[in-house]
């Protein structure tokens, strides 16, 4: 058991060192791209508000960081979630998707909100406000379904 003490010391030093390594933050400084979701499809104010609170932290170019996001390794963990989230779906660049992709993203939004797989439980655990109420779920599902239908009519 004599290795425990130096082991802990090394861990502490490593923890201290990694505090100085901070990943790039996901911030757009209020800049709205011409390919942003709101620029390419109709998004009612109430739907946009829900998307902003519950989805945009990982699915847009702008994250609202909580204070503890500065603490490592939390920042790495968050950065990797944001990277993965944006790869999957980025509302800030929704207009870059082809029509087929837009339809398929909207369908996946409906699916994951219905299943409750999104927003991630590990996210809503810390962000209680991001948790979707049943009314909010219905709003999102109806909006995404309607938008998807309008896209397939446009073909």
């Amino acid at each position: 058991m004599s290795w425990i003490k130096p082991g802990l010391l090394i861990l502490l030093i490593v923890m201290l060192i990694i505090q100085f390594i901070q990943p790039t933050r996901n911030l757009d400084n209020g800049q709205v791209l011409s390919v942003a979701l709101t620029e390419v499809v109709d998004v009612p104010q109430n739907v946009q508000a829900i998307l902003q609170t519950s989805c945009y932290n990982c699915h847009s170019n702008n994250t609202l960081y909580p204070w503890y996001s500065r603490i490592q390794p939390v920042s790495w963990w968050m950065a990797s979630h944001i990277k993965k989230g944006k790869e999957e779906l980025n509302f800030s660049e929704f207009g870059n998707y082809s029509n087929r992709m837009r339809e398929s993203k909207l369908k996946s939004i409906v699916g994951s909100v219905e299943d409750g797989t999104m927003p991630l439980p590990s996210f809503t655990w810390m962000h209680v406000k991001a948790k979707l109420s049943n009314e909010e779920k219905v709003l999102i599902i109806n909006w995404a379904t309607k938008t998807r239908d309008s896209l397939s009519l446009n073909k």
Partner: protein, 192 residues
């Protein structure tokens, strides 16, 4: 001194463990890429329908796995499909076909990847299979199937919203409801 040695030993152990992990993933990648090459050389085909036959085989494998409620097999077939997209030969396609193909590939590849990554979550696999089916249907419509296919509809899936899929058999084997409702569905269209 003893403690120092043991802590060094411990950290070395972690390093070695990490490195081993990397090696195995590298090896996995190598083996999968060789199998892709093999597939590519085997399919020395000249027509557009010929080019997509590999993709269709994988699609039907996913479909059959899902109708047997087998998430593992669906994931394996989807992984093969991802590789098949990687080795797809566009040479036989016309410019117009290539345009349609590129549009579909981008989307279909994502859904195949999700099915491959989600063994253990068959419901999630089925959601992606639904959109994948639409993609493959559009692909077949554009390029021909080179084989008889049945575009089948199950009206009950997803709270009676319904969903479609392609099958090589006229006899219905439902990939969305699986063994709980194996024969639910009707053939909407026959494709060649």
């Amino acid at each position: 001194m003893k403690t120092l040695i043991s802590s060094i030993a411990l950290s070395t152990f972690f390093f070695v463990a990490c490195n081993n992990g990397n090696q195995t993933t590298k090896m996995d990648k190598n083996t999968s890429s060789t199998s892709t090459v093999d597939q590519g050389t085997k399919e020395d085909l000249k027509t557009a329908a010929g080019s997509i036959s590999g993709l269709l085989t994988n699609y039907l494998q996913i479909k059959n796995a899902l109708s047997k409620d087998n998430d593992q097999e669906a994931a394996t077939a989807a992984k093969d499909m991802v590789n098949a997209f990687g080795s797809f030969d566009k040479a036989a396609l016309t410019t117009e076909q290539a345009k349609v193909y590129n549009d579909i590939e981008e989307d279909a590849l994502q859904h195949a990847t999700h099915i491959a990554d989600n063994s253990g979550k068959i419901d999630h696999q089925r959601e992606h299979f639904e959109i994948l089916s639409k993609d493959i249907y559009d692909l077949v419509k554009e390029m021909g199937a080179g084989q008889k296919l049945y575009y089948t509809n199950c009206p009950m899936y997803n709270n009676n919203k319904g969903a479609n899929w392609l099958s090589e058999t006229k006899e219905v084997q439902n990939p969305y409801l699986g063994q709980s409702m194996p024969t639910c569905g009707t053939v909407k269209e026959e494709l060649n």
